[in-house]
């Protein structure tokens, strides 16, 4: 047996290593959060850790400015006109518009592929038709094909069809890119359902569609939820697809593009970056905090996504 002292040493070593890793993983984000509530002058002159000295001087100016695009709202007196702030958040030059665009992009880009994939996954899991196995292999093969392989032909196609720079174009693209994973995941989930369930329903005279709609889908809601969360975050956090098919026009650009262009036009916008980044992180963080088990499950179930 190993002596007790050695065991205790290894135990405390475990804690020390683990806690330092946890700090390395959380302090950077915490620093950004702290910075987002500091004034422009403080952000550019001192590190965020200086903010925790009394007197505290936290402010929400950066958030108002970055959302509306108007620096003058940072001044207290302008805050009186709340209604115009709200209007500027939605229609103005700031990030409010980008937030809305991200939602407009992400919601259909989550729902459409799930709808398409659940039909296909059901067919691949439980129906017999020629070429089924080949189709399955193709889906598995497509899981890791680099997006880059598809960008140029689709972009050219979009040029002809006038889909470049439109939400419809980006919805369809995200649907297609999300499909192999969605089909693969749902097919595995559907396949895991007990066979007897369908057989008795068929015997009772239920049609294929009734079985799918009344039995398979309701039983798979947790799986579908995992997939939905995964796909939503994937699209919400996407930069490349939006950059290629939507471009940086203010009317359509999502948060990721907005922030990355803020970053390349450094200097003047430097103080707005922390608040901007946090606005983009808000929704993912809420989803993560409330639905973490589903999220983890989605990742575990198909850890081959590329």
């Amino acid at each position: 047996m190993i002596p007790k002292a050695a065991r205790r040493l290894s135990r405390s070593l475990t804690h020390i290593v683990l806690i330092s890793i946890c700090l390395m993983w959380t302090v950077p984000s915490f620093g950004l959060l702290a910075n987002s509530f500091r004034s422009q002058r403080d952000i550019v002159t001192t590190g965020w850790w200086k903010a925790f000295k009394t007197p505290f001087a936290f402010t929400v100016d950066n958030y108002v400015e970055v959302l509306t695009g108007h620096p003058e709202y940072g001044k207290e007196e302008a805050l009186e006109n709340r209604r115009s702030i709200l209007k500027d958040i939605v229609t103005g030059q700031g990030m409010g518009r980008a937030f809305l665009n991200s939602l407009i992009i992400a919601i259909p880009s989550t729902l459409i592929p799930i709808l398409v994939a659940s039909f296909a996954a059901y067919a691949l899991a439980w129906m017999r038709f020629p070429g089924r196995d080949l189709l399955l292999i193709i889906v598995v093969g497509l899981l890791v094909v680099p997006l880059q392989m598809t960008l140029i032909p689709i972009l050219r196609l979009y040029g002809v069809l006038h889909l470049a720079g439109t939400f419809l174009g980006v919805w369809l693209a995200h649907t297609a890119y999300g499909l192999p994973y969605a089909i693969y995941l749902l097919r595995n989930f559907f396949r895991a359902l007990p066979r007897d369930l369908f057989e008795s329903a068929y015997l009772d005279g239920a049609s294929e569609f009734v079985v799918f709609y009344r039995i398979v889908v309701p039983l798979s809601i947790p799986s579908i939820a995992s997939l939905a969360i995964f796909q939503f975050l994937w699209v919400w956090n996407d930069l490349l697809v939006a950059l290629i098919y939507l471009g940086g026009t203010r009317d359509v650009a999502p948060l990721t593009i907005h922030i990355s262009s803020m970053m390349s036009s450094l200097g003047e916008n430097w103080h707005l970056l922390p608040a901007g980044a946090f606005i983009s992180m808000m929704l993912p963080l809420i989803i993560f905090a409330t639905l973490q088990p589903y999220f983890v499950r989605g990742i575990l179930a198909g850890s081959v996504k590329g």
Binding site: S10, V17, L18, I21, C22, M24, W25, V27, P28, L32, N35, I43, V44, T45, G47, V116, A117, F119, A120, I137, I138, V140, G141, L143, V144, V145, P146, Q148, M149, T150, L151, I152, P153, L155, A173, T175, A176, L179, P180, E208, F212, N237, L239, L240, L243, T256, S260, M263, S264, L273, P274, A277, S280, M281, L285, F295, I299, S303, V304, G306
Partner: protein, 280 residues
Amino acid sequence: MYMGSALFFLTVYLIYPIVNTAYLSFLGKGSKAFTGLGNYWYVFTNADMLGALKNNLLWLVLFTSITVSLGLVIAVLTDKVRYEAAAKAMIFLPMAISFVAASVIWRFMFEFRPAGIPQIGLLNALLSTFPGIQPVAWLVNTKVNNFALIGVGIWIWTGFCMVILSAGLKGIPLEILEAARIDGASEWQIFWRIILPMMRTTIIVVATTMIIIVLKVFDIVYVMTNGNLGTEVIANRMYKEMFNYHHFGRASAIAVILLLAVIPVIAFNVRRFRAQEVVQ
């Protein structure tokens, strides 16, 4: 009928473009004249391209080995403590946010001010507490900037490796571990002789996933340095050939190389999938 819409998307958005891109890669700038292997020759001889390939190789080696091994270490360590769930949530958190947001976070961590001025980036502030050490321009200094970017990648993806590896670890029957402990095996021996061999498949799956990620790495480099100062990677190079130089032939050749690089993984996945189906 059930497959119809899915088939439409897969064909139009994935299969047709793959074939078309392969074809375009043999054509010149305007996608009209046939240039044979000209674009591929360019990809493997042009200095910028070679730099990007070299950087991707550096990413491949460092990013993959560190995310997987660190993920494994964390999975094993968290298994031993009471605050397992909290620790894992903290390390997994960066997976939920965008690479763009993560880049902003690290942009502030890496911020550099010349020596003598108060540092506002945490890394340089920590360095400056040691006497005689100069602050480092993490993203500008070509000796360190690639490592800085890879570090951000590792910070984002380690949690992903940890989650999968941890699930694999929990799959090892407790009796085996306990039997080993009763026989007097140290934790060190248990890790090397039992845990590692038993998790071999999971580790391979995670590592191949990381390889796929690293081949396509784009966002971090695009946002933090835009590939300047010797930090370019293949995917960024392709983006530039597409949008800055409008050379679709070269951009397609780059994409084809990415595809060729993942073909072994595709074959591996298909084989693994078939084996699973047989078991069922």
